[in-house]
């Protein structure tokens, strides 16, 4: 049991960036917009957060800069898909390619530089509880904030008036527009929210998990976050459960290596990617699951004037 504690703790840390990115994308997709650019926004967030944290010496500044960079990139996506009605799949791919290129370009001087790792916070009393303290109260602030984000997103999508409007827009933008709902403004805000969370997710990689800047360091996590949204059938609670499962899968390889499992490391590293495929197959196998849960207008352009 004691041996499981570090495993669970590292799973939580591995899952946290996925939670940020996937919860943001959940909101974006619930508004009917498919943004495939998470990977690009994460990388930009990672490099911006790293650079800002190094320059300022403050992790909060780093995360704020990462969120701002993610928003900036998401605005390009928003302008193209929402105003110019470009194909969302193509534009999302462009965003990822652009983010990969831009982050490598901006960050070429930062590779290999050190940065102070965001420290875990100790909560007086709670952290000292045997076992439970190690299990629940030994994380950095971003882990707790990710839980808060989940609660917030869940409340927003199910209880708040704006959240219900957002969902209506995702199902039927034409009807929502006809009854006077601001389709474009809502979608813009959703896209920006997704940009901010993806940026934070990226900064979590470069400030907590690694902590340093490496070109292309997100290594497909943005795409896994996209798969998690499908896996969670666009529901925040399931998305978070999925993220923890995936965090576990990514950590499993480290422990398997530790235990000396006679499997080449490359095969263990394949696990998260293979698991993504398996999970998608399980969820998509029944077309009804997708039909009933996927926002009806997902990926379709809508413009009030045309």
């Amino acid at each position: 049991m004691i041996a499981l504690v570090p495993m669970i703790a590292s799973t939580v840390v591995a899952a946290t960036p996925l939670i940020y990115a996937a919860l943001g994308e959940t909101v974006v997709e619930r508004s009917g917009v498919l943004n495939l650019g998470i990977e690009g926004m994460m990388l930009i967030g990672a490099v911006a957060g790293f650079a800002a944290a190094r320059a300022s010496g403050s992790d909060s500044v780093g995360f704020a800069a990462a969120a701002a960079a993610g928003v900036a990139l998401s605005l390009i996506f928003g302008f193209l898909t929402l105003n110019l009605q470009t194909n969302q799949v193509a534009t999302g791919l462009a965003l990822t390619l652009f983010g990969v290129g831009l982050s490598a370009f901006v960050g070429h001087n930062l590779a290999g530089m050190p940065v102070e790792r965001l420290e875990a916070i100790t909560i007086p009393g709670l952290s000292a509880i045997p076992l439970l303290g190690d299990l629940l109260f030994h994380y950095d602030i971003m882990v707790y904030l990710s839980v808060a984000l989940f609660v917030g997103v869940h409340w927003f999508l199910t209880k708040s008036r704006t959240g219900l409007t957002l969902r209506a827009i995702g199902e039927s933008p034409g009807v929502a527009h006809a009854i006077g709902k601001p389709v474009l403004a809502t979608r813009y805000l959703a896209v920006m929210f997704g940009g901010a969370t993806a940026g934070i997710a990226g900064a979590y990689l470069s400030l907590v998990q690694t902590p340093m800047w490496v070109e292309g360091m997100s290594a497909g996590k943005g795409w896994i976050a996209l798969a998690l949204v499908v896996f969670g059938t666009w529901k925040p609670a399931r998305v978070v459960v999925g993220a923890y499962l995936f965090g576990g899968v990514t950590q499993f390889q480290l422990f398997a290596q530790g235990f000396g499992l006679p499997v080449p490391t490359e095969f263990l590293s394949m696990l998260p990617y293979a698991a993504t495929i398996v999970v998608l197959v399980i969820i998509c196998r029944d077309p009804k699951t997708i039909l009933l849960n996927q926002p009806a207008s997902l990926g379709h352009s809508f413009h009030p004037t045309t």
Binding site: A94, L102, A104, P264, Y273
Partner: protein
């Protein structure tokens, strides 16, 4: 005042002009970027776009890098036209390289004339097999091919990494993660002496031609175009969606696999951990620049190849990071998507009482 107005029918002219607008915008951005970095923009432009192709060796390099981009781009364009979003050409390329490279290693130093044809065949089959996975999962389990093809990119790269670190590592390679060098009969000779360009470019151009005939003149090609342009009409006409998905993915897998084996049997000459600087991803942009048309893709591939060469040249000549290539690639696709607005819309002058016809800048700028 200018306003956007929907055209009655999409403009064919604009669909050809739009890549030029995008390229021009990319150049302007490049000019500003070089200036901002404190480099002389004229010198930078010369280093980036002219110097790499100012010698016959340089032209050879241009065609060499065009080969994988063109092969993957043609394959992707066929799929995109049919609404099949295969974005994992990079993985299919890697698998082609592994399969073909495996055959090359099996032949060793043999000078059998069978070696090269079998390697090419294995490369093609390797790419096809890798593309068959998303085709099967999409047609059988309704699984989104975007995510599956992308995940398979990472998996294929790990397979390659395992092979060159483990079973296929050159025992005399001083522990470098690479295989033995291929024998002479297992390496593609230069097509033109004094350059490194191989027969691969001929295969690629041939494939572009075949793809053009396929999409324009055959019923299967027609079905795929209808499926892309009007899915409902295709379904009503009884065109099988499954068959389109299979054809699109297998053709692209074959082309990308061929690109992979042409790379490792050509300029690289062995299997190693890194065999492509993202050709399979850049080919997505190539397909778009080429208007998803096999002949247009040739121009797209040449342009993208020049961006790769320019990035290397700028790195050597000015100390700019070669990542600038990726930046230009991304910008180009953004500009292209934006410029495509004018295929379906046009600017129209609207006379209003208050506004004078003065400010064309705002909408035009917004559209660029």
């Amino acid at each position: 005042m200018l306003r956007l107005e929907r055209r009655p029918t999409p403009s064919t002219v604009m669909s050809y002009v739009s890549p030029l607008i995008a390229a021009a915008c990319m150049l302007v951005t490049g000019f500003l970027l070089f200036s901002a970095l404190g480099k002389d923009p004229v010198e930078a432009f010369y280093l980036f776009f002219v110097k790499p192709v100012s010698t016959s060796y340089g032209i050879g390099e241009l065609l060499l890098k065009t080969t994988p981009l063109l092969l993957c781009g043609v394959g992707l364009a066929l799929g995109f036209r049919a609404n099949v979003w295969n974005i994992g050409a990079e993985g299919q390329l890697t698998m082609g390289a592994i399969a073909g490279g495996g055959v090359a290693l099996w032949f060793g130093d043999s000078d059998s004339s069978l070696a090269m044809p079998l390697m090419l065949l294995a490369g093609i089959l390797g790419g096809m097999a890798w593309a068959a996975i998303p085709a099967f999962l999409r047609t059988r389990f309704n699984t989104n091919e975007i995510l599956v093809t992308l995940m398979l990119v990472y998996i294929s790269q790990l397979v390659l990494s395992w092979l060159v670190h483990g079973p296929w590592r050159d025992p005399e390679g001083q522990n470098y993660p690479q295989s033995q060098g291929f024998g002479d009969a297992e390496t593609m000779a230069a097509l033109i002496s004094g350059t490194r360009v191989t027969w691969g470019i001929v295969y690629a151009l041939g494939l572009a031609l075949v793809a053009w005939i396929f999409s324009q003149k055959t019923f299967a090609g027609f079905r795929m175009q209808v499926a892309g342009l009007a899915p409902a009409a295709a379904a009503y006409a009884g065109f099988s969606e499954r068959r389109n998905i299979w054809i699109a993915l297998l053709l692209c897998g074959a082309a990308a696999g061929l690109a992979g084996i042409c790379e490792v049997a050509g300029p690289i000459g062995r299997l190693q951990q890194q065999i492509s600087p993202g050709y399979g991803f850049a080919a997505i942009i190539v397909a778009w620049i080429g208007r998803l048309h096999p002949i247009g893709v040739i121009f797209g591939a040449l342009l993208m190849s020049l961006l790769y060469l320019g990035g290397e040249s700028a790195q050597m000549g000015m100390g700019l990071p070669s990542a600038i290539t990726g930046l230009f690639q991304g910008l180009l696709l953004f500009y292209l998507l934006a410029a495509d607005l004018f295929i379906n819309f046009r600017l129209k002058r609207v006379e209003t009482a208050a506004a004078k016809p003065a400010a064309p800048a705002a909408p035009a700028e917004a559209a660029a």
